[in-house]
Amino acid sequence: MCGAPKQGGALAGIDLSTQTVIQGSVWHDGAPVAGAYVRLLDSTDEFTAEVVTSPEGEFRFFAAPGQWKVRALAAVGKGERVLPAEVGLNETTVAIS
């Protein structure tokens, strides 16, 4: 119930007229990073959720409209991205430099 569903993949079954989906992938050195820990922080930088990226480096959150920060933590390093989200699909990429 509190465990994350499989990350990434098709959006079938997700109602994009009501859900605010934030999804994307984590990259490092030109390749997706599998098994990275990605956390969603709210506008006050407080933890809201965390998932582990799929073998293709993908992550997905179900949030609410507003400003969010996505932060990735992996054995190879850290990266983050701030983005505004609206109802519907919001896509982003997080690079670990």
Binding site: M1, C2, G3, A4, P5, I14, D15, T18, Q19, T20, G35, Y37, R39, L40, D42, T44, E46, F47, T48, A49, E50, V51, V52, R60, F61, F62, A63, A64, L73, A74, A75
Partner: protein, 275 residues
């Protein structure tokens, strides 16, 4: 009781892999994590399949808990070391469970799977077989479990600690944001609850903050040392993490986990809610 009685480091676990008398248990909601690689010799508990009553909303009764532990080859005198994903949420829930049924020596691995993986430590895909035991559980210790009526009665009188994220506390979202936001219960929190998210007690690598940092955290968030405490979240696993911090690390007495949590409270007819 001190930190070293209830918490072991990843270094300690790696040094003690395979040692008789120590049983590692991985606790996840999603067992694909375990199946894709686990600590050598660790057995698995599936949070949903193994740790919930198959019919009612409740934890396992005594005989079912005994059967589970016996089938995993866990003996009453074993040292059980729990770890898992989600920053040890479900491992902390299982820890609380082991305490409910009176297991003698149970510990959490600090940082759980995340810390282990970020350190690049070895994982095994080998099947783990342990000879079955005849585990005997104690009668459930209800001094660490809160029920709904007690929560309603605690409004304005006990520390009610809501450990969900600020956006769940305020009712902006209904579930942690890795889950679809379609839930039947009302949004908000129990009146007079203080919001101290579980995540404030953990470092980014999933390990617990120091005792000094934890003591300061609860003091500055309005936690009243003179009152009993009930912690809750959405389904009772994140609040187990905070229950562990308050009772096992900080040594506070009379701390209960309300495992019914918001899924139950937010569905009750006629109870007060604040947003």
């Amino acid at each position: 009781m001190s930190r070293t009685d209830v918490l072991v480091t990843v270094d300690w676990v790696q040094e003690h892999l395979g040692q008789p008398g120590i049983v590692l248990v991985e606790v996840d909601e999603d067992t694909s994590a375990y199946d894709g690689g686990h600590l050598e010799g660790a057995v698995k508990f599936d949070w949903k399949k193994d740790l919930q009553d198959p019919l009612r909303r409740d934890y396992l009764d005594k005989s079912a808990f005994e059967a589970l532990l016996s089938s995993r080859g866990i003996a009453n005198d074993d040292t059980v070391v729990l770890y898992g994903g989600n920053n040890n949420w479900f491992a902390a829930y299982a820890y609380w469970y082991f305490k409910i049924y009176g297991h003698g020596d149970v510990k959490l691995m600090d940082g759980g799977r995340k810390k282990w993986e970020l350190d690049g430590r070895p994982l095994s895909k080998d099947a783990v077989e342990r000879p079955a035991t005849s585990y005997r559980a104690a009668e459930p210790d209800l001094s660490i479990r809160a029920f709904r009526d007690e929560v309603v009665a605690a409004i304005g009188s006990k520390n009610l600690v809501d450990v969900r994220s600020p956006d769940e506390f305020s009712g902006k979202i209904l579930a942690p944001a890795h889950l679809p936001q379609e839930q039947s219960q009302k949004a908000g929190h129990v009146p007079t609850a203080i919001n101290i998210p579980w995540s404030k007690a953990a470092n980014e690598d999933g390990t617990f903050k120091s005792d000094e940092q934890l003591a300061a955290l609860y003091a500055e968030q309005g936690y009243d040392e003179s009152k009993p405490t009930i912690a809750y979240c959405r389904i009772g696993e994140r609040s187990s993490h905070t229950w562990f911090v308050l009772r096992e690390l900080l040594g506070k007495t009379d701390v209960k986990n309300y495992d019914g949590s918001w899924v139950e409270y937010g569905s009750l007819v006629g109870v007060p809610i604040e947003k």
